[in-house]
């Protein structure tokens, strides 16, 4: 049997977490992890809208066009997408990432230029009808 104190502490903790997660769902956002709203796939993509996906293209120092994996910068695609506006505002962040990439992976191809691109599929009634790539930020080796 639990003592009244043990029961009280557990009840209090339960109530506190429940209240936090309910407030998080109603008013919070991802910033309030781990009690933010459970917003996996919660935004609605209109059936006549567009689906965006970020990708990175680069040019090596010997002039080859390559698609650069985001993981080679230590970040996931969704993390690049979460900071897209920041990087667009300050493309030198791409340079900071390139430097860190060269330090962490000395064997990887050396890049002269890195382009963060937003690819868009246009939808019409839920079907793909077009594809365009929009540049977000460009960094060139000084």
């Amino acid at each position: 049997m639990l003592s009244p104190l043990g029961r009280g502490l557990r009840g209090g903790a339960t109530a506190a977490v429940l209240v936090a997660v309910l407030i998080g769902t109603a008013y919070g956002d991802d910033d309030h992890f781990p009690v933010g709203p459970f917003r996996m796939f919660s935004t609605k993509t209109p059936r006549d809208g567009a689906v965006k996906v970020a990708l990175i293209r680069g040019v090596t120092v010997d002039g080859r066009e390559v698609r650069v994996s985001m993981a080679s910068f230590g970040l996931r695609r969704a993390e690049f997408e979460g900071q897209l506006d920041r990087i667009a505002e300050d493309p030198s962040l791409l340079g900071v990432l390139v430097t860190a990439r060269e330090r962490a992976r000395p064997g990887s191809a050396k890049l002269r230029e890195v382009r963060l691109v937003s690819a868009r599929w246009e939808l019409q009634d839920g079907r793909r009808v077009g594809y365009v790539e929009v540049p977000v930020a460009v960094w060139t080796r000084p």
């Binding site: 997660v21 935004t43 979460g82």
Partner: protein, 287 residues
């Protein structure tokens, strides 16, 4: 005692906590090294890309460095494996919870937050509130009952509140959108991509997801309905993985809290421990 309090503290056999400790603590190395190994990649990301969460600003937690991330990883691996043996459950369990929590801060502070961790974090928080427990011990205990209930409720809330997040961010007609089309275009597998040509099926599935999320409290029902919901939840996660390679693995591990694990004994070969193997007069491995 009120009905609410009786429900939260309904006694459960101590063996369930023993098994949950073994399984949930052994999942830590799986999570850290295999299924969520991208977290350790943050060791090489410059601090300029660190976007501290509310909790990181409040406490305030340090900007991760290479040393911090790799040191944290090593400490977490050692602590979780030792904790899985069931020794010093309160102290080691608390250590694992704190280390894993900071590991999650490192994971989620670079522009993307995942939503598959709530129940697992609750589980790691409540496991140390129970004293020593043996596998196969059916002795009912209120402290075990409360810990198990917390994990179960956290699992249900992850689904149930997700429906409200969809209403809040996507609108009440979220299910009529093309969210699954988006998911399939971005990360569809060879099994998922063909579904892009059947938009009405995707809309129907979206309605099914809302219905499942709103119906998730049925997980807490006794008997067939509860068991059926647990099985359906597992199936839901497997289909999601097969079509868009997303699986809420830490959350799925917490579905184990719905099973009567207290009825399971530890196989004799494992119970003896490996050290005593040579001196053990009984045959090893026959269970």
């Amino acid at each position: 005692m009120t009905a609410v309090s009786r429900w939260w503290f309904e006694p459960v056999g101590r063996g369930r906590i023993a098994w949950l400790r073994t399984l949930l603590y052994l999942f830590v190395p799986v999570d850290v090294l295999l299924t969520t190994s991208w977290v350790s990649q943050h060791a090489d990301v410059p601090g300029a890309l660190y976007q501290p969460l509310f909790i990181g600003r409040l406490l305030p937690l340090p900007t991760p460095t290479r040393g911090l991330v790799l040191g944290l990883q090593a400490a977490l691996l050692v602590a979780s494996v030792v904790a899985a043996t069931g020794r010093r459950p309160r102290v080691l369990g608390t250590v694992v919870f704190l280390l894993y929590f900071e590991w999650m801060v490192v994971a989620m502070s670079y522009g993307k937050v995942d939503h598959d961790r709530f129940a697992y974090l609750v589980a790691l928080a409540v496991l140390p509130t129970v004293g020593r427990a043996r596998h196969g011990d059916r002795e009912p205990d209120e402290s075990v009952g409360w810990a198990v209930r917390c994990i179960q409720v956290a699992v249900v809330l992850t689904y149930f509140l997700a429906a409200f997040a969809k209403f809040r961010f996507g609108g009440l007609d979220w299910a009529n959108g093309a969210t699954l089309t988006r998911a399939l275009l971005r990360r569809g597998t060879f099994l998922g991509t063909p579904l892009l040509s059947v938009p009405w099926l995707l809309v129907l599935t979206q309605w099914g997801i809302i219905a499942f999320e709103l119906g998730s409290p049925l997980l807490l029902a006794r008997g067939r309905i509860g068991r059926g919901m647990v099985a359906f939840s597992v199936a839901f996660h497997l289909v999601t993985f097969a079509t868009i390679t997303i699986i809420f693995l830490p959350h799925v591990m917490c579905l184990l809290s719905f099973l009567a694990l207290e009825n399971l004994r530890m196989p004799a070969a494992l119970r003896r421990g490996t050290r005593s193997g040579q001196r053990d007069p009984e045959p090893v491995g026959v269970t």
